[in-house]
């Protein structure tokens, strides 16, 4: 397609092209993920070697690690910002904003998103949010320190702890930018998918990745406003003397706070009304990627396509009815708690449908073990591990024991963080040729996979034991309790595994950037895949297809048909 010559700025900075915007999100998310990873390494450094001096780190963090020993205040900021950055700025931005923008028009046969300007705007709205989140480390008192969930009163009273001051304010401002951006993105997803599908692409012919992004768009639009409302009320409590979340009788030092009548639980309700759908905003795209990648490399149609679609919808719907399971120990009525147990365990049904469908897709298949396929298989593994531990946490009787222990940390790093991350890796290895016209190096990719997979289990699996043994989440130094001291070798093992895990990701970054220029050149359809996006040229220009947009004649999983010589039939082939 002939298109007007674009300047550097209109092509790379303020681009309207969904693919470039997707890559911009990608770059931002990788930078944020890298920072989030460093924070995790620092957290593990403290837990593996509690309060040991590391004099060289004083140069990097003169306040937080004065004389080389991590202060408790800095530790609290570290896990708060690790969670915030990873949940929102890596695991939401990369699979949803990054891949969603990049893939949706390619998979549905559109030239671009429905609102390209809004798309550009949404990217440039999240950038200041990310910058604000990062610079919050450098204000007086350090970054926010009330956990990624920002529970009041820590988050609502400026003088509560050092991080409650300017750091928490910047956290709120950064999150408001994020919410604004993400809502604009979700709007674009929903409208694009409903209105811009090419001829023949009925909803029930869409790839599961696009189905997931569609439901994610709706989830974002319906759940993030609750966080926005909470953030507005919290800002008022912090700055204008209201008492939405603050009860009477709070002392800071010897000073009685003037607030009265508010309830911190209200924040928990508002936060988790967003927070739980957010888990599926992260999970659903990973499930979509896994389905697309597994079908391609198993050379088999995805098993139970319709049930997969209905499972995505069911998970999306149920995700709005389960937020109370984060609050079993908040003193809620046990009757209400039981209702949340029922809705929570009901999610096991669509989740099991997905897991079994993947297993049936894999069963007896001659799998092509590419790196993408390995990561997709790992998603299934992590999803099952994390899902099973979720049952204990979703049941109030057991959760009361396990709440706020490392069991929870282990659980959500498997199901949400793990499946989300591995799904994103599967997607990167799979669609990289479409992004840059070259393949990632498979040999380095496989080394990256095995390091990541083994180290991931080594880091997070033992955490379940720590949790059952009573080690609490967010603790700065477990050794202050005698009963936790025997667990120190486990913590050391986790820390060393975490360092390996982090180092493995450097391998990925190297592969990612070097392959952009030196990777093996890819054709338009290097994996012999059947999805519509593979009918574009190797590195599609703005507008995606040269000439007319192809018509779609079939679903995207037509592999190994007995009536055809070739083992796949593209959606675009009649």
């Amino acid at each position: 397609m002939a298109h007007a010559k674009e300047s550097f700025i209109s092509k790379y900075i303020f681009s309207f092209d969904h693919k470039m915007i997707g890559k911009q999100y990608f770059t931002l998310a990788m930078i944020m993920g890298f920072i989030g990873g460093i924070l995790a390494v620092l957290i593990r450094l403290q837990l593996g070697f509690p309060s040991q001096p590391w004099p060289f780190l004083e140069n990097l963090f003169p306040v937080g690690m004065a004389s080389g020993i991590m202060t408790p205040e800095f530790y609290v900021s570290l896990f708060t910002m690790h969670g915030t950055i990873m949940v929102f700025f890596l695991l939401s931005l990369l699979p949803v904003s990054g891949f969603g923008n990049f893939l949706i028009p390619l998979q549905i046969g559109a030239r671009d998103m429905a609102f390209p300007f809004l798309n550009m705007l949404s990217f440039w709205t999240v950038v200041p949010g990310a910058i604000i989140i990062i610079i919050s480390f450098f204000v007086e008192g350090g970054a926010a320190a009330s956990g990624w969930t920002a529970y009041p009163p820590l988050s609502a009273i400026r003088s509560a702890i050092p991080g409650s001051g300017a750091g928490q304010t910047l956290w709120l401002v950064g999150m408001i930018f994020f919410v604004a951006s993400f809502t604009m993105g979700g709007l674009n997803f929903v409208v694009t998918i409903l209105n811009l599908r090419t001829k023949g692409l009925r909803l029930m012919r869409m790839p599961l990745t696009t189905w997931a992004q569609f439901v994610v768009g709706i989830l974002g639009l319906l759940s993030f406003p609750a966080l926005a409302a909470g953030a507005i009320l919290l800002t008022f409590d912090r700055s204008l003397g209201t008492s939405f979340f603050l009860p009477a009788g709070i002392f800071i030092g010897d000073t009685l706070m003037p607030h009265e009548g508010g309830t911190p639980l209200l924040w928990q309700h508002l936060f988790w009304f967003l927070g739980h759908p957010e888990v599926y905003i992260i999970m659903l795209p990973a499930m979509g990627f896994t389905s697309d990648v597994l079908a391609t490399f198993c050379r088999r149609p995805i098993f139970g396509y319709r049930s997969m679609v209905y499972a995505i919808m069911a998970i999306g719907t149920l995700s709005f009815l389960v937020w109370g399971h984060h609050m079993f120990v908040s003193g809620m009525s046990p009757f209400l708690g039981s209702l949340f147990v029922v809705t929570t365990l009901a999610i096991a049904i669509p989740s099991a449908v997905k897991a079994f469908n993947w297993l049936f897709t894999i069963a007896k298949a001659k799998i092509r073990f590419t790196t993408a396929a390995l990561f997709a298989l790992a998603v299934v593994s992590l999803f099952v591990t994390g899902g099973l531990t979720g049952i204990f946490l979703g049941t109030n009787a057991t959760d009361i024991q396990l709440h706020d222990t490392y069991f929870v940390v282990g659980h959500f790093h498997f199901i949400m963080a793990g499946a989300g991350l591995f799904g994103a890796f599967a997607a990167v290895y799979f669609w990289y040729p479409k992004m840059f016209g070259r393949k990632l190096n498979e040999r380095i990719g496989k080394i990256h996979f095995w390091i990541t997979f083994v180290a991931y289990y080594a880091v997070f699996f033992p955490m379940h034991y720590l949790g059952v043994a009573g080690m609490m989440r967010r603790i700065y130094d477990p050794n202050v309790y005698e009963y936790l001291q025997p667990l120190q070798p486990v913590n050391l093992f986790i820390t060393i595994s975490a360092f390996v895990l982090f180092a493995g990701q450097l391998l990925f970054l190297w592969n990612y950037f070097v392959s952009m220029r030196r990777g093996e050149t890819a054709t338009g359809n290097p994996w012999d895949a059947a999805g519509l996006e593979w009918s574009t040229p190797a590195k599609p220009g703005h507008g995606n297809w040269e000439g007319d947009i192809p018509e779609v004649h079939r679903w995207p999983y037509d592999y190994s048909r007995p009536d055809r010589k070739r083992d796949f039939v593209g959606q675009w082939e009649s």
Partner: protein
């Protein structure tokens, strides 16, 4: 964007309309969240009733009228009567501004009566809800002024532009939202 890129898109009108409706869904959720917080908080022991400033009723009349004038503007535009469209949309913007000024006057009336944002939970909610609603209405006034400007400079073509119809949907929505908030503030707690 090149012509080929935009040319392949489906009916823009349908796309824009759906985009707006989806966006309104997001705003609805924002106020739904506020409402649930309001209901929860109204169960607190420190909740006291608040006598709403009487000017709110006048404001309500203004915003109801503005929906009527905007409807007249939309119809005039559809019929191609641009001059009439301009006057009706200007009248709507004026009524909207009047509403906002009236809301501000309501805040002042409360302050004079010794009720401030942080006085008690209901007053806090009153200022937050009217404030956030006002911000949404300001966006509507800006859209109206932009339409007026476009029409005055001949850049708004009946039959081609969907902007007046979209603005009307948004405006009616914010009007309806005000009625809803008024009901919440006067009937609940």
């Amino acid at each position: 964007m090149t012509a080929a890129v935009s040319g392949a898109m489906a009916d823009r009108r349908q796309v824009n309309r759906l985009g707006l409706l989806v966006g309104l869904g997001g705003i609805t959720m924002l106020f739904a969240a506020f409402t649930s917080a309001y209901i929860v908080r109204s169960g607190g022991a420190d909740w006291v009733a608040l006598e709403l400033p009487p000017i709110l009723w006048l404001n309500t009349v203004l915003i109801a009228l503005s929906s009527g004038t905007l409807e007249a503007a939309r119809r005039a535009f559809r019929a191609g009567r641009l001059a009439s469209f301009r006057s009706w949309s200007a009248a709507t913007a004026a009524l909207g501004t009047g509403f906002l000024a009236g809301q501000y006057a309501g805040w002042l009336q409360l302050n004079e009566a010794g009720v401030f944002l942080q006085s008690h939970p209901k007053s806090s909610f009153f200022f937050v809800l009217t404030g956030v609603h006002g911000v949404h209405l300001v966006a509507g006034v800006i859209a109206l002024l932009a339409l007026f400007g476009l029409a005055a400079t001949g850049r708004l073509v009946p039959g081609r532009s969907d902007a007046p119809a979209l603005t009307a949907i948004y405006w009616h929505f914010t009007g309806g939202l005000w009625l809803y908030l008024l009901a919440v503030l006067s009937l609940l707690g």
